[in-house]
Symmetry: C2
Subunit: 355 residues, 2 copies
């Protein structure tokens, strides 16, 4: 693994002692046998690049307003302890609350950075890739985390980890529902978490509709997310469930035509779109279509459960709530904010019902 | 705010099309009117620094093994949209799975990066500092997060947020205990969360011992963590509780001498030390002292609750468990892994009892 470690250290230089501290910093750079190049910044402070042995590179920037940023890059295989010491030396010279972040690891074989839905930089404790496939619909990865177990990542979004029973619980009504003898429809749910949980409650029949099978979410999860799905994905049919491998839209339309209804419809397809940009129109239209059909196949006393998105994406969430107002049959709804362990952000879940 | 935004983009150049892609990248740099300096890297690939207007700086590195890293720094007040477009242009040229992380914001007035106990880089959605004090014992900050509410940060460690009832629940026995009519001792707990929760259960008496008052954790929390503490910190005394502002060690020693016992001892002082280095010896000794005294004042059928640390710090946790084996009276213990929303890592809690 020829990954690069990128250290950062930032601090503010007060006028008092500024020269002494800067020359202290310089002496550390020079002790490391780094070749200095000073750049012309057109009056935007001091900027120097230092190149050392083993491909080490440092950038020192002293901004006009007193902020100093130091970047230090080296190979992962380099003597990290020695460089850690350099950073500690820098730390000692700088007395004004230096901010030193954990090193960014760049270009590693196993990527540890999976930003949240609200766009924050997050490093996971991921140590290996256990599964990776490109299905016709998405890129599917299952990554191992020491604390969350295996994590399903779809198109770069953290979808569910083995630690995330809280997700399954939230999208099935928080243990307040009685599924015994009920008709249940699950849209998506390929990780098997919802299905595995609900079959325990002896429903009349659960129909789960997942779009693809081979080289798909089901395929990866039945091998590597067994803490989530148990053995429920090993067979497409059981006493009180069936998994249909097909597109849910034509199926929902057929159910509407037949006048078939369900006590529970659980939409576990994807989070609601983040963007409100025109190019996402088709995503919102798809969401609206599924939502409308789902409510149509809902029994008058039935419940519709679905995930929303990050609690911070207030604009996307209100757009979703606008959709709920525009359905062909009027619905009531409520929402709840839930902590799903591996998400590292608060997540909104919705319940809707026919008015 | 003269903060600096630091964009990164990393990708791997395959041999095929390498030249064409590199010259595409270069043309983007040149279009941005950046002045290029090429550095001698002693055979460690290509390194160029680009300096542009408004203090913009870019670093392009092409490593010998094909990894390309681009760093782009600009001021927060700069035309971010334009730079976002530059990064998108880069993205388009690079077809081999580029990794583009959310920009690091460096030198901002409000710091959003608070690494986890297991040393991972984490960006919080913090938008303002609501309280900051240096007490005789620690640096106390209360920071506002959109999704977690106010967050108490002690010496740079995220301690508790208003969203974190899961912490209070875990350290009081997960709702399985009956505190009615019981004698309870809380060590620390200055945020008031445990106290506010337990008084609801009509215990005989809760004694909470917190080391300082003015300009302290209590002071900040009673103003800014009211979703956690309610009004319980407004008075140091109530029907069934008292808050003693003193060092808990002499008090515990006095209780031992008097033969006084408690049905519950809840140690909410600090997480167990992360380091196993000799310089941390005194921290471990302090921990052992408190632990030993706490067990001594525990009623034979009583329970001792405390937090451990990050579930990933397995070495520190086993060291703690070793301490539990070495106490003056033998104890049994169990542990549990809990998701505390604002921690962004799984956390271990311990229950101990007299054997």
């Amino acid at each position: 693994d020829m990954a690069v470690r990128h250290y950062t250290l930032d601090f503010s230089l007060s006028t008092a002692g500024k020269e002494r501290r800067l020359s202290g910093l310089m002496s550390i750079f020079h002790e490391q046998e780094l070749t200095e190049t000073v750049h012309d910044t057109n009056g935007h402070g001091y900027l120097a690049t230092f190149v050392g042995k083993n491909g080490r590179v440092a950038i020192l920037r002293v901004h006009s307003h007193g902020l100093v940023t130091i970047d230090l890059q080296c190979y992962e295989e380099d003597n990290i302890a020695q460089l850690d010491n350099v950073m500690i030396l820098f730390n000692c010279i700088v007395l004004h609350f230096p901010r030193r972040l954990p090193a960014l690891v760049r270009g590693a074989n196993v990527d540890r950075y999976w930003p949240t839905a609200d766009g924050r930089l997050i490093e996971y404790d991921i140590d290996r890739v256990v599964y990776e496939e490109d299905s016709a619909y998405q890129n599917i990865k299952i990554l191992h985390s020491q604390q969350y177990g295996n994590i399903l990542v779809l198109d770069g979004d953290v979808n569910l980890a083995e630690s995330d029973f809280a997700y399954t619980q939230a999208i099935t009504g928080n243990g307040k529902e009685n599924y015994a003898g009920k008709e249940v429809l699950i849209l998506g749910g390929g990780d098997g978490g919802i299905l595995a949980e609900l079959v325990k409650q002896k429903p009349k029949m659960i129909t789960m509709v997942e779009i693809s099978f081979m080289g798909s979410v089901i395929d990866g999860c039945k091998m590597y997310m067994r803490k989530t799905c148990g053995n429920i994905l090993d067979n497409l049919k059981g006493d009180c469930y069936q998994i249909l491998i097909e597109d849910c839209v034509p199926l929902l339309k057929k159910y509407v035509q037949e006048g078939r209804t369900f006590d529970y419809v659980i939409n576990d397809l994807t989070a609601i779109p983040i963007s409100t940009a025109p190019e996402e129109d088709s995503t919102w239209e798809f969401l609206r279509l599924i939502l409308d059909l789902s409510i149509q196949v809902l029994h008058p006393s039935g419940k519709y459960f679905t995930q929303g998105n990050s609690a911070n994406l207030t604009e996307a969430l209100s757009l979703y709530e606008d959709q709920l107002e525009k359905l062909s049959c009027p619905v009531g709804f409520c929402k709840e904010v839930v902590c799903v362990p591996s998400y590292l952000e608060q997540w909104v879940f919705y319940t809707a019902w026919k008015k």
